[in-house]
Amino acid sequence: MSRPQPTYDASPQAPLSEDRYEEDDADRVQIVERLSWTPKQRLAYLVDMVAFEERARRARRLG
């Protein structure tokens, strides 16, 4: 099984929705996707996300 390719929202914060239901739906879609992954893939995605954020933070500091 191939590892899921991470996709990131590079904006500083997730967009705020006036409709809480939209946020709930977005979370549910992401959760359903993750439930199709293995625990190892879920952890790898988190590690990639943290590394990506750290690189972005360093780039902002240098910029």
């Binding site: 709930d24 979370d27 549910r28 959760i31 190892k40 952890l43 988190l46 996300m49 943290v50």
Partner: protein
């Protein structure tokens, strides 16, 4: 800042035969949560033999007390006697931030959490993870805003897991 490598922390704990349960955000991630976390939280057994094994694991990963303004952390007396006296340790290690909680909020500690433990295969290491119900119970009891904000997502996850039987 050390790169976040939770699997390396689990590998070292396993190598030293530490008895523990993964709790908090990484436990939620392993269950399928989409919430972001940047540290590993565990609840270890508190008997002296386990504390001695934990001490050896902490030494191997260069654990130091995490504190703001000191990126490399502060050294501490890493022995079983010290671990027996503390309830919570926030550490920085060569594999990233690592928190130890002997009595997580809303739980009775290791013996309580191990009843619902789920063994997760992170090949080559099998990791003991707190049940999602226990993760939610603890976050509700902790009551911090950041924990409470996560509850709706974790309950959605629990609902989806239950749908799948």
């Amino acid at each position: 800042m050390p790169q976040f490598q939770p699997e390396e922390i689990f590998r070292v704990l396993d190598q030293h035969q530490v008895e523990y349960v993964v709790i908090g955000g990484v436990a939620a991630t392993l269950h399928g949560s989409n919430l972001r976390t940047g540290d590993v939280d565990i609840c270890p057994a508190r008997d002296e033999a386990n504390l001695t094994r934990l001490t050896k694991a902490l030494q191997e990963i260069d654990a130091r007390i995490r504190t703001s303004g000191v990126p490399d952390g502060l050294p501490f007396a890493c022995d079983a006697g010290f671990l027996a006296k503390v309830d919570l340790l926030n550490l920085v290690t060569r594999y990233g931030d690592f928190d130890i909680s002997f009595i997580p909020a809303g739980t009775g500690g290791y013996d309580d959490l191990k009843r619902g433990v789920v063994r997760v295969d992170l090949d080559p290491v099998i990791v003991p993870v707190a049940s999602l119900e226990d993760v939610i119970r603890s976050k509700k009891a902790a009551g911090r805003p950041k924990d409470l904000q996560q509850i709706p997502v974790l309950e959605t996850l629990l609902e989806e897991i239950r749908k799948r039987g």
